[in-house]
């Protein structure tokens, strides 16, 4: 699917030339002041391509050589952070994809960047790997205080730990905002009721969406809920559960992009 995720990341990192517009990182133009702009950036583009014939540690050492003042303590600390301390002296060719991904993150954060750019960091990982990666990224954002830019088409994934999204479709930016904002915008107040008999409710409340014999949905705001419960109780209808139904990022996305037409 060519939507321009990886291309965007490459443009940000100066790996492709920009035809119009400009990218600035930490106030520096990526094309005109490349070395300044890239100094505080760490990145994995596409796959975590490392030197396979070197050990994980040697790979990190190569990166450390290219920045000023990266001590061996810093390398050890980062290795611990990505949980590779047991395998760091093995050749990268013996690593699993998950380990390579983590080594990729280690080399990207070695110089304490304030922006970390990751291209599909959970791609190809098993569920446990995905969970570990998520925890690692949350850790980095909170403990190391770095902004993390992730590209992904796994929306459920992003929903879990991102604060802000930018939706790109067919190369065009459709939306850039906080996730909570998007959800608020697209979700109407939808309430889910579970009762003993839906048929009896039909006589009392109109405009409801029947799901089955026991459940129905209704479009009312939070404030109106107590009023409704009162009404139902008056009619001797047993209520087992009432909850607000939230839209997922996925649903919000489809609403924004106008259905699931992805070319």
């Amino acid at each position: 699917m060519v939507h321009g995720k990886t291309t965007t990341i490459k443009l940000i990192l100066g790996l492709q030339s920009i035809t119009s517009g400009k990218v600035t990182i930490n106030g520096y133009d990526i094309e005109k002041e490349f070395t300044h702009a890239i100094k505080k950036v760490g990145a994995i583009v596409e796959n975590p391509d490392m030197y396979m014939y070197l050990s994980g540690y040697q790979n990190l050492k190569l990166v450390a050589n290219l920045y000023k003042g990266i001590t061996t303590e810093r390398i050890d600390k980062v290795v611990k952070l990505v949980k590779l301390e047991n395998r760091i002296h093995d050749k990268v060719s013996k690593y699993s994809l998950g380990m390579r991904q983590r080594l990729g993150i280690a080399q990207a954060i070695l110089h304490e960047p304030n922006l970390l750019i990751l291209d599909e960091p959970t791609n190809g990982l098993d569920p446990e790997g995905i969970k570990e990666m998520r925890e690692l990224l949350v850790d980095l954002a909170t403990k190391e205080k770095m902004a993390i830019l992730i590209s992904s088409h796994n929306l459920a994934e992003l929903d879990n730990f991102c604060t802000k999204v930018c939706i790109i479709k067919n190369g065009e930016v459709i939306e850039t905002s906080e996730i909570s904002e998007i959800k608020k915008e697209t979700s109407q107040d939808l309430q889910l009721f579970e009762v003993d008999d839906v048929n009896r409710v039909k006589n009392i409340i109109r405009d409801m969406i029947v799901i089955d014999n026991h459940r129905f949905k209704i479009n009312v705001s939070k404030e109106e809920v107590p009023e409704m419960i009162e009404k139902l109780v008056e009619n001797k209808i047993k209520i087992y559960e009432v909850k607000q139904e939230e839209k997922t990022l996925e649903e919000a996305f489809f609403e924004k992009t106008g259905g699931n037409v992805i070319e």
Binding site: T6, K10, L13, G14, L15, Q16, S17, F34, T35, H36, I38, K39, V41, A43, V45, E46, N47, D49, M50, Y51, M52, Y53, L54, Q58, L62, V63, N65, L66, Y67, K68, Q107
Partner: protein
């Protein structure tokens, strides 16, 4: 954020790979193999014109029996076969000293053929046969006295007598053409006298060793040089020929004077003297392999992205790779040289390292002696332009097309085609080729002041041409690398 950090990383990447070690081990084994071959190559027959073979002689005898000397169609073959058999038999009897074989081969052989011609040929002459037989017997008797100096003294006496006669003739004639001829003849005889003197003074018995080769080279060179004497203006081709004779003459004289076998390739010094001619291909293969992969491999494996998002400009990154390639050139040359010195030393002994390398210098017209290590330095400097340009070619192609196979193949083809291209250019005298890179990248032609391949070439011009070719390849490479978009890998 200096360039040296990048270079350091590039070197780490090269030396952590197995490839470099495997190729160096292969070169090590090849060097051992080739040194052993040199060692045994010269262990063959010393008397190269004498190969007595019983079976062969018998087959000649059988063939002889089928021929009838009375028949006019057979007689020439009969005489030749008979002479060959008689010569071989005579040599077999005198194989105790090499000089005897040389005398038999050079002086008695013509008599044998002559005698057989008088005995079996169309004009039979018994008196002549007797006379020749006496001559042969006299020579054989001298051989049995075991004194080779007798022949040298005889040569000397003969030459002195001839000189006297020629000088007498010169005084009697006024004719310019006749005088010129006498002059040339006198030159030749004087040469013969000189050689006989050298033989006696330096105690050089007749034979085929390097001293005798030097004697015959000296004679040939002298005769050739005499031919050039009367030509007013020499063409470039003739000047080249004249120079090569001049060189031969000086070298032969040096060998006879010092008794040094300067062309002996069967010593460590002799091998090192031709280091690049013998082993240059090994160096070039490894150099081209490194230059042709250092950029493209990173693209093919995707690791280039790691480098390009570091705070270094692309120019610096490519510069680091180019510098690393040049460092590796020096490294490979040094390692191969050290390996060759060790292997050659173990096989041939290290003694010859104290012998000087001797070469004729056309500027001073003398034989110049040089320490072997200084000579290796000169050799390396004169070969560096070629090695650097081939590495640059591989480097450029691999950066342009991201294809190491193509880069390595084209560069090696270039190296192999170079000598053919040069030969054709010189052979057909294609003047425009003097600006072509292969004609200029080997500076060793300027080392001893000899004339270059073509008129108008000079070391300064060659260096400029090499620099121009270097820039023509390097500048576009940097531009392409700087502008390249990193596609999906």
């Amino acid at each position: 954020m200096s360039l040296s950090n990048l270079v350091k990383n590039e070197l780490i990447k090269i030396f952590k790979k197995k490839t470099i070690y495997i190729t160096m081990v292969v070169i090590f084994l090849l060097l051992i193999f080739m040194n052993c071959m040199f060692k045994y190559a010269n262990g063959g027959s010393e008397y190269d014109y004498y190969l007595y073979n019983e079976n062969y002689i018998n087959s000649l005898r059988c063939e002889l029996e089928t021929l009838n000397p009375e028949k006019s169609s057979d007689v020439t073959t009969y005489i030749n076969l008979l002479s060959e058999i008689q010569l071989s038999e005579m040599m077999e009897q005198h194989k105790d000293a090499e000089w005897k074989l040389a005398i038999i081969n050079e002086r008695i052989a013509p008599y044998i053929t002559e005698r057989n011609t008088y005995q079996y040929g169309a004009e039979k002459n018994e008196a002549q046969v007797q006379e020749i037989n006496q001559e042969i017997d006299a020579l054989l008797a001298k051989l049995d006295e075991n004194d080779w100096k007798y022949f040298a003294r005889e040569d000397l006496a003969k030459a002195e007598q001839q000189i006297e006669e020629l000088n007498a003739q010169k005084e009697q004639t006024e004719d310019k053409a006749v005088l010129e001829n006498l002059e040339t003849e006198l030159d030749n005889v004087q040469m013969e006298k000189e050689i006989a003197e050298i033989r006696l003074n330096k105690e050089i018995p007749y034979g085929t060793n390097y001293l005798n080769r030097a004697i015959s080279n000296l004679q040939t060179a002298n005769n050739s040089l005499a031919n050039f004497k009367n030509i007013e203006e020499l063409t470039y081709q003739e000047r080249l020929e004249y120079n090569s004779n001049l060189e031969d003459q000086a070298e032969s004289r040096y060998i006879l004077e010092t008794g040094r076998d300067i062309h002996n390739t069967n010593t460590l010094k002799g091998i090192l003297e031709n280091f690049y001619a013998q082993f240059g291909i090994f160096l070039i293969v490894v150099v081209v392999m490194i230059a042709g992969t250092i950029v493209s491999e990173e693209f093919n494996k995707g690791t280039i992205k790691l480098l390009l998002v570091k705070p270094y400009t692309r120019n610096k990154i490519l510069m680091a790779k180019a510098i690393t390639t040049f460092i590796m050139i020096i490294f490979i040359i040094v390692v191969t040289l050290v390996m060759q010195i060790l292997i050659g030393g173990i096989i041939f002994g290290f003694d010859s390292l104290s012998e000087p390398v001797v070469a004729y210098n056309f500027n001073t017209n003398t034989m110049e002696e040089m320490n072997i290590f200084a000579n290796l330095g000169v050799q390396t400097l004169t070969q560096l332009p070629m090695i650097i340009l081939l590495a640059t070619l591989a480097f450029a192609i691999s950066t342009f097309f991201n294809n190491s196979t193509l880069a390595i193949t084209i560069s090696l083809l270039g190296y192999m085609a170079a000598s053919i291209i040069n030969q054709l250019a010189i052979g057909y005298d294609l003047q425009f080729m003097k600006y072509f890179v292969t004609m200029n990248w080997d500076l060793s032609i300027y080392a001893n002041g000899d004339l270059p391949y073509m008129e108008g070439m000079s070391m300064t011009m060659s260096i400029i041409i090499c620099v121009v070719y270097f820039l023509i390849m390097m500048i576009p490479t940097f531009i392409v690398f700087k502008k390249r978009n990193i596609k999906n890998i």
